[in-house]
């Protein structure tokens, strides 16, 4: 990238960043080798080693990446708010595939639904509470963004923190629900409904977790007195997307 303002001078300088490779290393060890160690080779040692190597790499990579993103000036500013929706298109298709799998099983089951093994009374109040929590967190994050617009960094920090706590509360509800259902012997392998239920809600919950990770990065930067409106906007956009997906999850998986 050229930084020169003088026009004719070619800058003899190759841009580098350690962050991407750290992130790839982190993902490779934490997710891939961790999974294979545990599920393919049933080796606790391999799993612990992989996770032990992967987590620090990933955290270091994301930290480095965030700090570079907040300090370096990109070639063209303000492109991330258009890039993230494009990325979300691909996310939509992942969720769509999961729903297609669910609908296929559901519709081919005919009248046999829910299949044997499903608890007679699923808790249908909890999803409403979870919906309220998630919508509230979207709203609180919106307030945070308004604070940032008015350059109120400490207000921004507090409202991001509130949004994060609501997100954590949502994951707490999921954990409680899973524990309750597992206790009733409703596990991923019980039947077609449990297969779809755990996969779809679990995949959504993993997105909540990623969204919380992004909030954490935004928040930590704000604690250090740094902020970037595009970064904050993207974090919010992703969170709203996760929120909207939840409507589909709740209506399809719980109430249909």
């Amino acid at each position: 990238m050229m930084k020169s303002a003088s026009g004719h001078a070619q800058v003899h300088h190759w841009e580098t960043s350690v962050a991407p490779m750290l992130v790839v290393g982190g993902v490779l060890f934490l997710v891939v080798f961790g999974f294979i160690g545990w599920f393919s080779y049933h080796s606790a040692l391999m799993t612990i080693l992989s996770v032990g190597i992967g987590v620090p790499l990933l955290v270091a990579g994301i930290a480095k990446w965030t700090s570079e993103g907040l300090t370096h000036k990109p070639l063209v500013e303000g492109l991330s708010p258009v890039a993230l929706p494009i990325f979300i298109v691909s996310e939509v298709f992942i969720f769509l595939s999961l729903f297609v799998a669910y609908w296929t099983m559901r519709l081919s089951a005919g009248g046999d639904w829910p299949p044997a093994g499903t608890p007679t009374e699923m808790n249908l109040v909890l999803p409403i509470i979870m919906t309220v929590i998630l919508v509230a967190s979207s709203l609180t994050y919106h307030v945070a963004e308004l604070k940032l617009e008015h350059s109120d960094l400490s207000g921004f920090r507090s409202w991001v923190l509130i949004s994060m706590l609501l997100g954590l509360l949502f994951l707490g509800c999921t954990t409680y629900e899973y524990g309750h259902l597992l206790h009733q012997n409703f596990t991923p392998s019980t039947n077609a409904y449990s297969t779809a239920f755990y996969s779809i809600t679990g995949f959504h919950a993993s997105h909540v977790l990623v969204g919380l990770g992004v909030f954490l990065a935004v928040w930590l930067a704000a604690v250090r007195g740094m902020s970037n409106k595009y970064f904050a906007f993207c974090a919010g956009l992703y969170w709203h997307f996760v929120d909207i997906v939840w409507f589909f999850v709740a209506t399809q998986v719980y109430y249909w």
């Binding site: 990238m1 050229m2 026009g7 004719h8 070619q10 800058v11 003899h12 300088h13 190759w14 841009e15 580098t16 960043s17 350690v18 962050a19 991407p20 490779m21 992130v23 790839v24 993902v27 490779l28 997710v31 891939v32 999974f35 294979i36 599920f39 393919s40 570079e68 993103g69 990109p74 070639l75 063209v76 492109l79 991330s80 258009v82 890039a83 494009i86 990325f87 298109v89 691909s90 996310e91 298709f93 992942i94 769509l96 595939s97 999961l98 297609v100 799998a101 296929t104 099983m105 081919s108 089951a109 046999d112 299949p115 596990t187 991923p188 392998s189 039947n191 077609a192 297969t195 996969s199």
Partner: protein, 533 residues
């Protein structure tokens, strides 16, 4: 590769965020994948020399060994070589130069993409290290993939890593093309290669996630006990085939489009002609994007479905010949009354036209339901898709390296050796695949290692095909060694040895340094990359 800055520094390569260096990293990875997957092809061909066990150890475990070769050949050629060679190497190196940008929109995400791809290559190569080698082809169909002793997780994570890399690259390049074109550069002033990547990346963005989801469900069925593909518990085996081909047929166009884009560039430059029917070809590419999502069911003709779906899908599958036809005519027409220079890239270009026609026309009977039932699972299909997808696209990668070699390395190739390599490659692929077309029609099934229950004369055709594969191996040894040697010892190249009008030749140093252009590029309404008249 020498640069305009100081000498070679390893950290400036492995931590680079520069699109040109990332492109070269893609090229190294994809050629490595090609080489290993090519060795697997040789093993497959050697095994088929005779009807029973030839090089596998015995009739009982032979199938397992053979399946691992098939797995690696298929997965590495498609996911490790063709896609990263085109939308990885070529798009990375060329797109920002062609649109007059200093880099891509998100250089760090670009670096993330290339190393995710390398991580995928590492996962694929682990096949040769682990005791439970994956043996699920590149398709991973259940229920076999869920029941086999082979390591399914390696396959799934290879797909995940390379898939995630592709999705990020799609986002990055789409934004780059839309927002970072040089001031004044309108949509119909773009290079054909830029257009081809733009359309291919849209397909990639939308369809790769579906593949990722399909294999994720596979992973969960195998290791977490879910029942997505388990009919005994309310699942559906065909669900996988649908999800898989919903991605994997469009993946053919992710490969085909940039391959065509490369040949357009070579044709225009070597014939010194503007692109014939530029707009029609662009609309053809957009048409492929629109239709690509409606053709996948022809992969499931014999998996069971109502006739009305078969017939509907036959129509949509045949329909894709229309945009492809538009593109082909435009490619052909670009040569009309041109002053054609026949160097190695143009040799590959000419061969591509032949491959396109043979591979394209043999696709038509396969799209037709009645003929497809007879031909679909035979080596006719095997030869068809090797022509149109494998060799056509592979030739485009070789042509791209040869064509842009002076710009990338700053040196000229040894033209004689390159041409010799081309002839070995071209003759080799014909000797390999024509016999397979013929015995395919006579009923030689795909994927079999032991065909002793079939007519004895099949073995003769297989022997010829095996000879062909080794001719290609010689050709590739000549080609790749030429790249390596010429990059160090070749004659110094001028800035624009082919007299091209495209920005990457006219406005950059050879090879381009950091920041690509000495001054910001601005173009006017009269500028086109094909302004040869």
């Amino acid at each position: 590769m020498s640069t305009t800055s100081s000498g070679f520094k390893l950290s400036e390569w492995i931590f680079t965020t520069d699109h040109k260096r990332i492109g070269i990293l893609y090229l190294i990875g994809s050629i490595a994948a090609f080489a290993v997957a090519g060795l697997m092809a040789l093993l497959i061909r050697l095994e088929q020399m005779s009807p029973g066990p030839t090089i596998v150890s015995d009739a009982y475990t032979g199938g397992d060994q053979y399946n691992v070769w098939l797995y690696f050949h298929g997965a590495a050629m498609i996911l490790g070589f063709l896609i990263p060679g085109l939308t990885g190497f070529a798009a990375n190196y060329l797109l920002p130069l062609m649109i007059g940008a200093k880099d891509v929109a998100f250089p760090r995400i670009n670096a993330l993409s290339v190393w995710l791809f390398w991580a995928g290559i590492v996962m694929a190569l682990l096949t040769f290290v682990v005791p439970d080698k994956p043996d699920v082809m590149w398709t991973g169909y259940p229920p076999y993939s869920i029941k086999t002793g082979g390591n399914l997780a390696l396959y799934v994570f290879t797909v995940h890593l390379i898939g995630f890399s592709s999705i990020l690259a799609s986002v990055n390049f789409l934004v780059t093309i839309v927002y970072m074109r040089a001031p004044g550069m309108g949509w119909f002033q773009l290079n054909m290669f830029t257009w081809s990547c733009f359309t291919a990346l849209i397909i990639q963005l939308v369809f790769v996630p579906v593949l990722a989801a399909a294999v994720t469900l596979l992973l969960m069925d195998r290791y977490l006990g879910t029942h997505f593909y388990d009919p005994a518990n309310g699942g559906d085996v065909l669900l996988y085939q649908n999800l898989f081909w919903f991605y994997s047929h469009p993946a053919v166009y992710v490969i085909f489009l940039p391959a065509m884009g490369i040949f357009y560039e070579i044709y225009a430059t070597m014939a010194k002609n503007p692109i014939f029917n530029y707009k029609a070809a662009v609309y053809g590419m957009c048409g492929i994007v629109l239709i690509s999502g409606e053709v996948w069911v022809h992969h499931l003709y014999y998996s069971g479905m109502p006739d009305w779906i078969r017939i509907g899908q036959m129509v949509t599958t045949l329909l894709i010949s229309v945009p492809v036809g538009l593109m082909t005519i435009s490619l052909f027409g670009t040569l009309y009354r041109g002053a054609i220079t026949f160097n190695t890239p143009m040799y590959y270009g000419t061969a591509a036209l032949y491959l396109l026609i043979v591979g394209g026309l043999t696709g038509i009977p396969l799209a037709m339901t009645v003929l497809s039932v007879h031909l679909g699972e035979t080596s006719f299909t095997h030869a068809h898709f090797h022509f149109i997808m494998g060799i056509f696209a592979a030739f485009s990668v070789f042509a791209a390296v040869d064509f842009w070699f002076p710009k990338i390395s700053g040196r000229m190739l040894n033209e004689g050796q390159a041409k010799l390599g081309f002839w070995f490659n071209f003759i080799g692929v014909n000797v390999t695949f024509w016999p397979l077309f013929i015995i395919g029609v006579e009923g030689m099934p795909r994927r079999y290692w032991d065909y002793s229950q079939f007519p004895a004369h099949f073995a003769d055709y297989h022997k010829v095909a095996t000879v062909g594969a080794f001719i290609v191996a010689i050709g590739m040894a000549l080609t790749i060694s030429n790249w390596l040697i010429s990059a160090v010892k070749g004659k110094k190249a001028e800035d624009n040895p082919w007299g091209s009008k495209s920005l990457e030749w006219t406005h950059t140093a050879t090879p381009p340094g950091p920041g690509n252009f000495a001054e910001d590029v601005v173009v006017d309404a009269a500028w086109t990359p094909y302004n040869y008249r």
